[in-house]
């Protein structure tokens, strides 16, 4: 059963060791796409934020697990959003980022990359600087 009527998701499924859980998009009334707005707001509010399958403690995909491991190796604080609970999160995220795969790492409001790029930057030593 899927409804075309967007039901408002006020909270992204988020965990963070940087700040408390985000009560995402405050209702401004009449908004067309609350999920997209919640994602954009989360990207704007967190210096480093990872959209992943599962959680940092229990990643649900090897690519997400490797990306989390690189961040933890650098001891970088990051917020994390689990995209699995609602397929619309992934759909809207990919529209915002123009990037088709998960995970997606953002820093300073910009897409850093997916797993391949993050690991490449980790191995070349560029990642820490990009996330500062």
């Amino acid at each position: 059963m899927s409804s075309s009527e967007p039901s408002t998701i006020r909270d992204l499924p988020m965990s963070s060791n940087q700040t408390g859980p985000v009560g995402a998009a405050p209702s401004t009334g009449g908004e067309q796409n609350p999920i997209r707005e919640a994602i954009e707001q989360a990207i704007g509010e967190h210096k480093v934020i990872l959209f992943m399958k599962g959680t940092p403690e229990a990643p649900a995909c090897g690519f997400s697990a490797r990306t989390v491991a690189a961040l933890q190796e650098l001891d970088v604080p990051f917020a994390a959003v689990d995209i699995l609970p609602d397929p619309r999160i992934r759909q809207e995220l990919s529209v915002i980022s123009d990037w088709p795969t998960i995970p997606q790492l953002f820093a300073h409001g910009e897409l850093v990359g997916g797993c391949d790029i993050v690991i490449e930057m980790y191995e070349s030593g560029e990642l820490a600087g990009a996330l500062q």
């Binding site: 990037w99 088709p100 795969t101 990359g113 391949d116 790029i117 490449e120």
Partner: protein
């Protein structure tokens, strides 16, 4: 179900001058690893390089192609 050879050909046709090595690393026809070398990547960020390759497959990424791990480089 796409094969590694299909992906290689499509990348090389879509990105002029590209050379692609594609591996089906689970053998299941849905998890691929590609190394793509193309002059078109020169002067582009890694993200822009990967987007060029992802764009070859559009909505198939995340669909029929569950995973496409990428390494992109300019010719030496």
């Amino acid at each position: 179900m796409p094969s590694a050879e299909d992906l290689k050909q499509r990348i090389e046709i879509a990105i002029p001058g590209a050379q692609a090595e594609v591996e089906d690393y689970t053998g299941g026809g849905d998890h691929f690893k590609a190394t793509v070398t193309a002059a078109a990547f020169e002067g582009r960020s890694r993200i822009a390089q990967h987007r060029l390759v992802y764009d070859v497959f559009g909505a198939e990424i995340g669909g029929a192609i569950h995973a496409l791990s990428l390494k992109t480089q300019s010719p030496q």
